[in-house]
Amino acid sequence: MTARTTTKAKTILSARGISNRFGRQVVHDNLSLDINRGEIIGIAGGSGSGKSVLLRTLVGLHEPNAGEVLINGKAVQSIGADEIASLIGVLFQQGALFSSLTVAQNIMVPMREHTALAAEEQERIAAMKLALAGLPADAGIKFPAALSGGMVKRAAFARALALDPKILFLDEPTSDLDPIAASGIDALIRQLNDSLGVTVVIVTHDLTTLFTICDRIAVLVDRNVTVATAEKLMKSDHPWIHEFFHGPRAEGAMKARKASHGN
């Protein structure tokens, strides 16, 4: 990981001067954020600090009041449908699996829409994505309503990975999961990042996720972001950041980081 951060970082996504307002409430004020190719970046912040709005802005679902988001140097709003589908994948908080389709059909939706692959080829690829996301083969014929919370997240993962996106956006991937399932998701993110080289953007409150798998952390405070490694943020004297990284819940997460990083 140190090798990755020291080599000349190349920006894959860049948000410039983002401002978001809802009525009189200013959520983001001239916010800029650069995301490097191949890194795992965590976006943290208190409830109501605009994490989800930032995620929606980054993927082009929400048009900011000012500023622009560039993916590979192109404005996200101007990227065509085929290209955006193979460029980004989003894991929504509740999974957002289509309830009328089986899990395998859910994974095949983007393939059906954006490629000319034969049906059996799509099925083969869908089965592979399921295995990649750590689901058993028989999960493919189930409907989303029949899955547990952890399995829904994994199935949504498999769908987000359908077209091998370059950037994977994860909205609270470990929320509502028991610690074992949450650790499983963390390991999955790490593995996909290592082997597929996919850039991962995680919006989360989960301190363990932030400390153990994120290369850098973007903390949303005072309508802007502070981006740094966990070590540097630990030393920050901003009161909210200090509280966030030194509160009672941070202690256990810090231990997990030491264990997983072996130092």
Binding site: A104, A127, A131, A137, L163, D164, Q191, S195
Partner: protein, 377 residues
């Protein structure tokens, strides 16, 4: 599209993949991915028959994604040795080759004739279940409503008055309009038919009797079932999905008493009032018909009315209203409480509630017609 066809320059160049060399040793070059899988397959067509000692050089492969790696895994399983794998592709290839892929289990298709039998059986079972459910729930509702009336302190006047306002007052304009229009429809049909026998004056009898006995109450009940019954189901259903009903129960409040009884009482009060309003509007529609089709002034019409209808016509219509109201409200609340989990289920139960209550209103009306006929009312 054949890969060698020249592309317009404005479009992004389509990734390509091609094989070099021949015989047992090939070299794959270009970009192997989800968009070029078909090309890769056709490039390696010469290997479609089994053979030994084949090797594929991948050092010229510029990019590789998971479907591409899955394709290579398939080749490796067939005995092809993959050589010259680039360092950046190795992790991906190892990951894919390490995956345990079982073929997805197939769901056995059911024969069409068996499907038919299953559908019929299921349908019959559903109808039987629905009948039992409605009977038990209507019984429970009646028991809780009576208990409420015997202990008026347990009633919730605020809730009842809110439901009266929502189901009654706000429904006045639409119900009034519909009653007038139904009277006009009956009037036109009546005049057209009765004129042949020279009895067009009897149109007034036709309009007044059918409005008072049947049309006003049926139209009002159907409107209320669609308008307020669906609202009851959706309100209670949403409370169910958000566990608000469970919260009531653990706080020691009975959902039947808190949610169902006020709605039932409110609707039993409003539906007769709405029906009476529809009666008046329907008779006003009759006055309009008389004026325009029979050249009969409103005063003459008013004078004729008591001769053609009497109190029993009004009574028959108004008597049915609270009965319909009780069933509409009970069925709506029953389906609301049946909602489970998802938002989808709210929609499904709402539809069922409206369909069942309208069906039941018509069925009860038929029953009432027979009973009143036998009783000579």
């Amino acid at each position: 599209m054949p890969p060698n066809k020249p592309q317009p320059t404005v479009e992004p160049t389509r990734p390509t993949v091609f094989a070099k060399g021949d015989g047992a040793e090939l070299e794959l070059r270009g970009e192997l991915g989800i968009l070029t899988l078909a090309d890769a397959r056709s490039a390696l067509k010469q290997w479609s028959k089994p053979g030994a000692g084949r090797s594929l050089d991948l050092s010229g492969l510029k990019s590789l994604d998971t479907p591409g790696a899955l394709f290579l895994r398939g080749l490796r399983v067939q005995g092809v040795s993959l050589t010259g794998v680039r360092a950046e592709h190795k992790a991906l290839l190892d990951l894919l080759c390490g995956l345990e892929l079982e073929p997805a289990p197939k769901v056995k298709p059911v024969r069409r004739w068996r499907q038919l039998v299953i559908q019929i059986g299921k349908g019959a079972h559903d109808v039987a279940r629905a009948a039992i459910d409605i009977t038990t729930f209507v019984g429970r509702t009646a028991s809780w409503t009576l208990r409420g009336l015997m202990h008026p302190a347990s009633l919730r006047p605020a809730s009842i008055s809110r439901h009266i306002a929502e189901t009654g007052i706000q429904a006045l304009p639409i119900i009034g309009l519909m009653a007038v229009m139904i009277a006009i429809v009956i009037g036109y049909q009546g005049v057209a038919q009765l004129r042949r026998f020279g009895g067009e004056d009897f149109t007034i009898n036709l309009v007044a009797v059918s409005v008072l006995r049947e049309m006003a109450v049926i139209i009002t009940a159907i409107m209320v079932a669609g308008r307020s019954g669906s609202a009851f189901t959706a309100e209670i259903g949403v409370m169910k999905t958000r566990q608000e009903v469970d919260a009531l129960q653990v706080m020691g409040m009975e959902p039947m008493q808190v949610l169902v009884v006020p709605r039932v009482i409110a609707l039993v009060i409003t539906l007769p009032l709405l029906t009476f309003f529809a009666d008046i509007m329907g008779l006003l529609g009759g006055a309009a018909i008389s004026q325009f089709l029979l050249d009969m002034s409103p005063t003459q019409y008013l004078a004729r009315l008591p001769q053609v209808v009497d109190g029993s016509d009004l009574f028959v219509g108004l008597f049915k209203a609270p009965v319909f109201a009780f069933f509409i409200a009970s069925i709506a609340c029953m389906h609301g409480l049946k909602v489970s989990g998802s938002a989808e289920s709210v929609g499904r139960e709402t539809t069922r509630a409206v369909v069942k209550s309208i069906f039941l209103v018509i069925a009860l009306d038929a029953l009432f017609s027979i009973v009143f006929e036998k009783m000579g009312i």
